[in-house]
Structures are given as structure tokens and as C-alpha cells.
């Protein structure tokens, strides 16, 4: 599903955000990406979304070598991937329904298709009754659910999440995690960058730790790490 081979990426000459990362993620896996601030987690997710191209090494996602797809094909590639972020990225002047429908509209789905799919997916994330609220009439957790619904409405093979619970209180964060787990169980691979010790420690999923742009640890059913609390 995802394969990185000896990937290097630098934003400024000589300073590598990623140096020699190799990683493989299978269909349906759930991976936590952890590591200190600036270690390269977001950079890695950006490469997987083809927002940037690796300087060296190859990145394969959903069967495609990302350095080889021409830029006009990138949008079509992205339709196979869902992505969610710490700041939700919802459109503030559109309701929950409209936010999800917008994602379908811009990839050319008909209004009728949207009328069928959107309520379904909002039902799935547990927001059937709040479909017509604007984002600022929803709690943070509910907003993130809308974002997840939008990312998942095309049933992507892969879901990338960059600190999706960073802005949420622990209880709300757990709600989001349970939803991601459920989505994962449908066969979608989930790669999630996070700082949340509690979540990583309790979920006991595969943990990949990055430090200074290199993989420091890759553990099945891992925990956040030791010696963190002071």
C-alpha cells in the first residue's frame, strides 16, 4: 500500500528533514508516527500525499511511484487518499452536509450521488442529526468527524492524519480515535502522526518513531516511549 525506500528530503541545502527513511505499510494497517517536534512527521505525510517530491529514494503509494506521476494526474491520485489535519480545514460558511458534498462536487460527482452518499457517511461518523449545522455550531470533536467524513466519503484505500487530536480535549480525542479505528477495520490503512502519549499507549498499534528525519524505532503494538514524563 505504502512503500518508502531510502527517502531523503530537505527544505534548505544541507538540512535534511528526512534522511534515509525506509518504511512499508500494508493494506489495512494502523500506524502511529511519533517523534519530537521537527523530526519530519509532517514532511513524510506531505510526501505520501504528493504535496512534495522526495529529493532521493522512491515513494510508492497505492501502487504508484509518486516521482513518476505527472503533475496533472496528481489530483486523480489524491482521490485514493483521505487526509485529516489538526485544524480540521472545514469551510466555515458551509454546513456539515455541504462540506462533505463539496468534496464530491469538486471531483465531478453529480448532485444526486452526493444526496445519496453524504447522509450515509455522516450517519457513519455519528452526525446524522447535526447535518445542517455550520462548523462553529459544532464542537471540536464534531468538526473533526465532519473532516473524517469528508476524507472517507470516497472510501479511500489510505487515510493520512496529521495530529488529528491535537486540538481536542482527551475525551473528545478518544471519540475521534474510536472512529478512526472503525474506519481502519473496514480495510483502510491509517497513518497518524501524533504527540498524544495516552492515545498511543492505550491503542497499542504499530508505532514508528522518527528522530531527526530517520526512523528510530518500528514496533508492532508499541507504546509512546519511556522517560517522557519529566
Amino acid at each position: 500500500m505504502i512503500r518508502l525506500e531510502n527517502v531523503y528530503k530537505s527544505y534548505a541545502p544541507g538540512q535534511f528533514a528526512l534522511k534515509g527513511v525506509s518504511l512499508e505499510v500494508e493494506r489495512g494497517e494502523f500506524v502511529f508516527l511519533i517523534g519530537p517536534s521537527g523530526s519530519g512527521k509532517s514532511t513524510m505525510l506531505r510526501l505520501l500525499l504528493r504535496e512534495d517530491i522526495a529529493d532521493q529514494g522512491s515513494v510508492w503509494v497505492a501502487g504508484k511511484d509518486l516521482s513518476k506521476i505527472p503533475s496533472w494526474k496528481v489530483p486523480y491520485f489524491r482521490r485514493n487518499i483521505g487526509s485529516i489535519f489538526q485544524d480540521f480545514r472545514l469551510l466555515p460558511n458551509k454546513s456539515a452536509y455541504e462540506n462533505v458534498a463539496f468534496a464530491l462536487e469538486v471531483i465531478g460527482k453529480s448532485r444526486k450521488a452526493a444526496e445519496k452518499q453524504v447522509p450515509q457517511i455522516l450517519e457513519l461518523v455519528g452526525l446524522a442529526d447535526k447535518m445542517h449545522r455550520l462548523p462553529n455550531e459544532l464542537s471540536g470533536g464534531e468538526q473533526q468527524r465532519v473532516a473524517i467524513a469528508r476524507a472517507f466519503v470516497n472510501r479511500p484505500l489510505i487515510l493520512l492524519a496529521d495530529e488529528p487530536t491535537g486540538n481536542l480535549d482527551p475525551e473528545t480525542a478518544w471519540g475521534v480515535m474510536r472512529l478512526l479505528e472503525r474506519i481502519n477495520r473496514t480495510g483502510t490503512a491509517v497513518v497518524m502522526a501524533t504527540h498524544d502519549v495516552g492515545i498511543v499507549d492505550q491503542m497499542r498499534r504499530r508505532v514508528v518513531e522518527i528522530d531527526s528525519g530517520a526512523i528510530a524505532r518500528d514496533q508492532i503494538r508499541g507504546v509512546y516511549g519511556l522517560g517522557v514524563h519529566q
Binding site: 503533475s71 496533472w72 469538486v106 471531483i107 465531478g108 469528508r150
Partner: protein
């Protein structure tokens, strides 16, 4: 790529409405600059017609009676040949004169229809060594047998020509400056539109909208502004033409009597105005999309 007409129209109209003040300013600037371009073109064409007869340094026109005899013509020719102040002269026969007459008085159809080719006098065009002698030489021929009229009032014509060409230069100069401003203005309207919709753009990219899907509403916005500006300017050009005609008929000034704008002239002017408007609109938005839209 699934770019439905409804979507594009809705987005473009939405953008225009959101920045209506700016859009209006852009359209008006384009309209004004294109109206200036149009005026300059009309002026150029009109003056070209009205001064055509006096090209080549002709300072004296001797009109013969339509029924002047050969002997009378011969007398004039002899005189022209012997006068030391005359540098050269040429004879214009009825047919050519009639053509010229039709062109010169194209905007006075009543007159045109009332005069047949037979009634048109042949004429001599005279180039003098010293233009200031025109009046005195004119007096010599005035009233001679077979001569209908002598016209030597060309200083004013030349002034008209000169003033008109300076005016054209100034107008075109202003128009070019304004067109550049208009391009930048449109560039900026689109830039603001892009800015104020950057969240939408981020989300679109996130969910896999194609680049053209994102770009086209912005491009079309600039195109529309250029087009609307051109439409206003097109109407203004018609207005200017009407104004010229009004002035000519109202005052019947000798200088302007030959000032003719044919439908062909007006059509060409309109086409130029539209083309420039559309080019300016599209260029401005294309630049903005290139520079500020990160897709």
C-alpha cells in the same frame, strides 16, 4: 474533469459579487481605456478621410465648371505652366473627382444623391513653391472663365491634421497606461479572490480537484471583467460616433465637412476594442492564477 457549467457560472458570479467594488473599478478602468482607444481610432480614420485630398503638399485647388470648355481648361493649364510660383500641378478628371466626392461626403447622403457624376467639376491640384503665396495665386484664378471656385484655405486643414495626430498620440499614450493599470487591477482583483478563497482552494486540492477545475472560475472572472469593460467601451464608441456626426451636422464647419466615419471604420474599431478587452482580462487573471494560486 467534471467541470459543470452550473458550477463554473455559480463560482464566477460568486467571486464577482464578493469583490463587486473592485470588479466594478476594473471594468470601468478597462471601459475608459478602451473608449480612449476607440476615440483615437475613430479620430484617426475620420481625419484621414477628411484630409486625403490635401495630401502631398497641395496648397491650392482650382475647381472648373462641370461644363467648362476645352479652351477654358487650356487657358488655365497654360497659366499654371508659366507662373513661376507653381512647383507642380495635376489634373483630376470628373470620374476621380466624383469618387472623391462620394467619400468626402459619405455622411451627407442627401447631398450625395442629389449630385450626379456629370455635375461634378474636374479640378486642378496645385503645389506651390511657397505656401504663403496661396492667397495671391488663388486671386489670379478666381473668376476666370470656366473656373467655378478656388480653395486655398489649407493652413487650417494642416493644423487640424497636426492637432489630430498629436491628439491621437496623447490619447493612445493615456490608453496604454490605463490598459496596463487595468491589467494590474484585474490581476489584483483575481489575487484578492484567490486570497479570500484560499481555504476552499486548500480543501479542493486535498480532496483531489483537478488544477483546471480550481483555476477556471478565477480565469473566467478576469475574462468577464475584460468583456464587460469592452461592452461598455463598445457602447461608448457608438456614442462618440453619434457625437461626431452631431457636431458635423450642427455646425457644418468647413474643416470637419470631410470628416466621415463609415460603418466599416466603426466595426473595425469595435472589434479592436473587444479584442483588447478580452486580452487584458484574460492576461490579468492568468498572471494572478500563475503567481498566486498554488496549484
Amino acid at each position: 474533469m467534471g467541470l459543470s457549467v452550473e458550477y463554473v457560472v455559480r463560482e464566477t458570479a460568486g467571486n464577482l459579487w464578493r469583490n463587486r467594488l473592485m470588479s466594478l473599478a476594473a471594468m470601468l478602468t478597462i471601459a475608459v481605456s478602451l473608449a480612449l482607444v476607440g476615440s483615437a481610432l475613430l479620430l484617426k480614420q475620420g481625419v484621414a478621410t477628411s484630409t486625403q485630398a490635401w495630401k502631398g503638399g497641395v496648397q491650392l485647388l482650382i475647381f472648373m465648371q462641370p461644363n467648362a470648355t476645352n479652351a477654358q481648361s487650356k487657358a488655365i493649364v497654360t497659366q499654371l505652366g508659366t507662373l513661376p510660383s507653381v512647383q507642380r500641378y495635376s489634373y483630376v478628371n470628373k470620374a476621380v473627382s466624383y469618387q472623391e466626392f462620394r467619400r468626402l461626403f459619405a455622411n451627407q447622403p442627401d447631398l450625395l444623391n442629389s449630385v450626379s457624376e456629370a455635375q461634378i467639376p474636374p479640378s486642378y491640384r496645385v503645389v506651390l513653391k511657397n505656401p504663403s503665396e496661396a492667397p495671391s495665386i488663388g486671386q489670379i484664378f478666381n473668376g476666370q472663365p470656366g473656373v467655378k471656385a478656388v480653395d486655398y484655405n489649407f493652413a487650417a486643414i494642416q493644423t487640424l491634421e497636426k492637432v489630430s495626430s498629436i491628439a491621437q498620440g496623447v490619447i493612445i499614450g493615456l490608453a496604454v497606461i490605463l490598459l496596463l493599470s487595468a491589467t494590474v487591477l484585474i490581476l489584483n482583483v483575481i489575487r484578492v479572490a484567490i486570497f479570500s478563497r484560499r481555504r476552499e482552494v486548500t480543501v479542493m486540492k486535498l480532496v483531489g480537484a483537478t488544477n483546471w477545475f480550481i483555476r477556471i472560475p478565477f480565469m473566467l472572472e478576469g475574462f468577464t471583467q475584460g468583456l464587460v469593460g469592452a461592452l461598455i467601451a463598445g457602447a461608448a464608441v457608438l456614442g462618440i460616433r453619434a457625437l461626431f456626426n452631431y457636431l458635423i451636422q450642427r455646425f457644418q464647419v468647413h474643416l470637419l465637412s470631410g470628416f466621415v466615419l463609415t460603418s466599416h471604420d466603426v466595426l473595425m474599431t469595435e472589434l479592436v476594442v473587444f479584442a483588447i478587452g478580452v486580452v487584458v482580462g484574460t492576461t490579468g487573471s492568468a498572471l494572478a492564477v500563475r503567481r498566486y494560486l498554488d496549484v
